[in-house]
């Protein structure tokens, strides 16, 4: 699929959303029959395997129900539904709640929420723009529920709004110290923590990038830094003068303690008065207005040509593949830079492009897979996709412990550098595999043993599974394998794998259809063929 057909222009998106809203009221059949996206080259009656693969990329894992949902229309139509699906809002923790209250909601939402794409994208954003409960800075679990609500609300909006909301979020203000960063000029100097990480990790990275995500080099073949210490100092000065919003009924004062509801508030008096050196020679004159300066400083970052390729490549890596070809990143960057209506940073358009691009869809035909394709499911995706495949319901309790055992407890990244870096090179492979950074001698078994607990035991006191569709199919090994293949491996199970499974399951070692179904699920969910989504 070429870009033209894979990417709908913004005006048509708006019309489409309107139509969809109207059609959804009429019920799914009407919607499927008259989908306005039928002009797309996507064929209707999407094959179950193709729908499953699309859901591997755009949800926490396919279920029989979501596969059917995608099959009712086509891929762009499903995306439109997802853009407007009701948001799984995080409930604010009570005064006695700890972070597990928010972690549990993460699992509940991911298993049961209708807004699967929004959750995947906002979680991906939360892994690029990281806050964490590890470390002393964030004092309340509320910081995380409000943070996730903010990212979920912003996920399909404009990237400028994302970085503006992030910058003024008290959660981030706590974590990277922009809250109460005093613009002092003598005997101390502004904190540089947020200044450094918003540039290095959240928006542009350390080096100048080509639109296709590859690094630019100078005439000596060296990388070209995007900024130096002067710019860090400048942004450190820019990010001064903001404090926490006041508690209800109180008046805000600079140096107030943490409170997480609402954006941070400006205090001109505590804003650094020096002129500020920002990116690419842009300078903000000294003595300016704190709010106006912040907007122009964030604009300075947002307009940097690195933002498109930087954000695109990482989102592609999280959703589709660890090693996207440069042309794929380049197409995404084009959409980031201009959604077709002259708007930069339209995330809805960017996500559509990422998921509908010909490179994302190539593997819908398994014969078109290439050796460098795929990405290791990160632990939380491994947990959730497996649970969704066996129709699990949960209150979330205990699931974070499994995440932790695989080095990915929600909201508890070891540092602002996320659970794993985007550029981790897999030993001996020549390929990038970010998630492999946390696949070690211990976590590899934690991942497998989780499946053992899921299939043969229990993973939480109030978590249930329902494998009856597989048990019902297990009277005929071929039918069982076909069902497992579609739901768990989007029909791409290689022949050596299916013949081994077939021989094992029909060997007579298993006494009944439950045992056969359990063994099939265990073997597929623990396999590298499943764990490496492709």
């Amino acid at each position: 699929m070429v870009r033209k057909s894979s990417y709908l222009q913004r005006s048509s998106l708006r019309t489409l959303s309107f139509c969809l809203a109207a059609l959804l009221l009429l019920g799914c059949n009407a919607f499927a029959k008259s989908s306005p996206a039928s002009s797309s080259k996507q064929s209707k009656n999407v094959k179950a395997a193709v729908a499953a693969r699309f859901l591997e990329q755009s949800s926490w894992g396919p279920t029989a129900a979501t596969i059917a949902q995608v099959q009712q229309g086509d891929l762009p139509t499903y995306l439109q539904q997802q853009f407007t699906a009701p948001i799984s809002t995080y409930v604010t923790p009570g005064p006695d709640d700890e972070i597990d209250f928010v972690q549990n909601q993460f699992f509940v939402n991911a298993l049961q929420g209708q807004d699967q794409l929004r959750q995947r994208v906002s979680f991906a954003l939360a892994e690029i723009i990281v806050i964490s409960g590890i470390g002393p800075n964030i004092k309340s679990p509320t910081a995380f529920s409000l943070w996730m609500n903010m990212l979920q609300n912003d996920a399909f909006g404009n990237f400028f709004n994302i970085i503006k909301d992030v910058t003024l979020s008290p959660s981030m203000g706590s974590y990277l110290n922009m809250a109460n960063n005093n613009g002092c000029s003598t005997h101390c100097r502004p904190n540089e923590n947020y200044a450094r990480e918003i540039l290095q990790l959240f928006t542009i990275g350390l080096y100048q990038l080509n639109p296709d995500g590859t690094p630019m080099v100078d005439q000596n073949g060296d990388l070209i830094p995007t900024y130096g210490q002067d710019e860090i100092t400048g942004f450190g000065q820019l990010f001064t003068g903001w404090t926490y919003p006041p508690k209800p009924g109180k008046i805000a004062h600079f140096f107030d303690g943490p409170y997480y509801t609402g954006p941070m508030l400006p205090f001109q008096k505590h804003y650094n008065k020096a002129s500020k050196t920002l990116l690419d020679g842009f300078t903000i004159p000294g003595g300016g207005d704190i709010e106006a300066d912040l907007t122009s400083g964030l604009k300075n970052i947002f307009d940097h040509p690195n933002v498109g390729p930087f954000v695109c490549k990482q989102l592609i890596q999280k959703l589709v593949t660890s090693n996207p070809i440069p042309a794929y990143v380049s197409r995404c960057t084009q959409v980031f830079n201009d959604d077709g209506t002259g708007v930069r940073g339209n995330m809805e358009a960017v996500i559509s492009e990422i998921l509908l691009d010909s490179e994302a869809r190539r593997g819908d035909d398994p014969s078109q897979l290439q050796p460098s394709d795929g990405h290791l499911r990160e632990p939380l995706l491994h947990i959730l996709a497996s649970m969704r495949a066996v129709n699990a319901t949960t209150d979330g309790v205990n699931l974070s412990n499994y995440g932790k055992s695989m080095l990915q407890a929600p909201f508890l990244s070891p540092s602002v550098f996320n659970f794993y870096p985007p550029d981790f090179l897999v030993s001996g492979s020549g390929l990038i595999g970010p998630e492999f950074d946390i696949l070690n001698a211990n976590t590899t078994f934690a991942r497998v043993n989780f499946i053992n607990d899921l299939i043969y035991g229990t993973v939480g006191p109030h978590t249930t599974t329902d494998i009856s569709p597989y048990v019902n199919a297990a009277g005929n090994i071929r039918n069982l394998l076909e069902l497992v293949n579609t739901n768990l491996m989007h029909g791409a199970m290689p022949s050596d794998m299916s013949s081994t499974l077939s021989a094992t399951l029909s060997s007579g070692a298993f006494t009944d259809t439950t045992q056969i179904a359990q063994a099939a699920l265990y073997l597929v969910l623990t396999s590298s063929q499943f764990q490496v989504q492709h």
Binding site: N182, E192, N440, N442, F445, T504, A509, S528
Partner: protein, 453 residues
């Protein structure tokens, strides 16, 4: 030079295992005589990485009145109270210094000569002055002051690159000595997960974030379980044509083998009596000591360990956070040194610290400090010529001769190369090979520092 006595060896290997009936199997596996033969030549390097960038300026502090007054004036609200500091008198220094108030064990070991400090060390391509730095006259490490880059540079000593280096100096040391000292088990063990330090061109580390003997659960030996296990293992051999699938299977396959071998060897060991505190670093160091104990069963006479403690990125509320971390470091080091005594080979185990970088001498506006460069590090072991500083202590002046900026980011006066080469040479890396591991050595007058004699 072996400090181990027959009686000491027997004591450590039998007493607590006697009840479990492990004695004979343990001795059989070890092969008592060969244990001595190997034990006498055994050496271990234990790297403790302090992730986030430890503030060395509050780890070692000038203690003379003028030095402390200067420190206190610039450090302002980050200045530690002089009355709480733990004084030390490095042999080669005219003036007294002090350690962070939580470093009681380190103070004691410094005074008794088992700990030394390498001061103002860091990643540095060649000798560099402030003037040369500011005028851009000399090469500097790429992306200076970035966590990720300085972590990688400290672990690889590769300071200029266009893609992140994939081989570390721990791995390169292992490559050099593997043929002589290696066994059937990885020489390198990281208990802090995957880190580039441990990657060799040839040597493949065991890397774990938890119990290194963890393996598959849920297999009872029944016919059904055996059939499932066989299929599980068969699937690990299928590639599906995708490189990353093969890589993932490779991790599991290797881990199965290592976990099995390690569990078998550890079954022949005895729990150490040394009491370790419960902090995350101590947990790793306890595991290290336990693995060193069964070194002969693993067939290894050289080992390299990588452990870590995180949380040092103290941009705010530094006083409280660093105090907690220093206490954890100090108690862990104290316990680990005691364990090396219990093992009877304190001379053969060398523990040392690394970190991303140090932190700005000038505080920031949130009672913390920001990313800087040259740092002070500790080496601990019976072989250390301790009680002293190695390298040149920086001039603690903003915009002074050692400051790369005006906020107190010390340009290292001792390169990582010399620090690492001293350790590598002691470990058995041939002098002629040091350069291949520490490529900037050629730019400095001496290859090694004197802290290992």
């Amino acid at each position: 030079m072996p400090r181990i006595t027959r009686r000491g060896f027997l004591r450590t290997s039998c007493c607590t295992a006697a009840a479990a009936g492990l004695v004979s199997s343990s001795i059989n596996r070890l092969g008592l005589m060969s244990a001595y033969a190997q034990g006498s030549d055994y050496k271990a390097l234990v790297c403790i990485f302090m992730f986030g960038g430890n503030d060395a300026n509050n780890t070692i502090i000038p203690y003379d009145s003028a030095g402390y007054a200067n420190y206190a004036q610039i450090r302002d609200n980050l200045a530690l109270d002089q009355s709480l500091l733990l004084p030390i008198q490095p042999k080669s220094q005219g003036l007294p210094f002090a350690l962070h108030p939580r470093c009681l064990n380190i103070q004691q070991l410094f005074n008794s000569g088992q700990v030394a400090a390498v001061v103002n060390t860091g990643v540095l391509p060649q000798p560099t002055t402030r003037d040369q730095y500011l005028k851009g006259l000399v090469p500097i490490p790429v992306s200076l002051f970035s966590h990720q880059d300085q972590q990688v540079q400290m672990q690889t000593d590769t300071l200029q690159y266009t893609t992140i280096p994939t081989v570390g100096w721990g791995g390169l040391m292992a490559d050099q000595i593997q043929a002589i000292y290696g066994g059937n088990f990885p020489i390198l063990i990281s208990l802090a997960g995957i880190n580039v330090f441990a990657q060799g061109l040839v040597a493949k580390p065991l890397q774990t974030s938890g119990d290194p003997t963890l393996s598959l659960t849920g297999f009872s030996g029944s016919a059904a379980d055996n059939a499932r296990l066989n299929a599980f293992q068969a699937l690990l051999t299928f590639g599906d044509g995708l490189t990353l699938i093969q890589s993932a299977s490779g991790v599991t396959t290797t881990a199965l083998q290592n976990a099995q071998n390690l569990a078998a060897a550890l079954a022949g060991g005895t729990p150490l009596k040394t009491r370790f505190p419960k902090n995350p670093l101590a947990v790793q160091l306890k595991e290290v000591a336990q693995i060193i104990q069964i070194r002969s069963a693993l067939g290894l006479s050289r080992q390299i360990f990588f452990v870590s403690l995180g949380g040092f990125d103290t941009h705010s509320a530094q006083i409280v956070t660093q105090a907690k971390l220093m206490l954890q470091l100090d108690e862990s080091l104290g316990a680990f040194y005691e364990a090396t005594n219990e093992l009877g080979i304190p001379q053969q185990i060398l523990t040392y610290t690394m970190s991303d970088f140090s932190r700005t001498f000038q505080p920031d506006s949130t009672s913390g400090s920001d990313h800087a460069w040259g740092s002070h590090h500790l080496v601990m072991g019976g072989a250390v010529v301790g009680g002293d500083f190695y390298g040149t202590f920086p001039t603690l002046a903003l915009g002074g001769p050692d400051d790369a900026t005006n906020q107190g980011r010390w340009i290292p006066t001792t390169p990582l190369d010399q620090y690492g080469a001293t350790l590598a040479k002691w470990f058995g890396v041939p002098t002629g090979s040091l350069q291949s591991i520490f490529p900037n050595l050629k730019n400095f007058k001496t290859q090694t520092l004197g802290f290992l004699g």
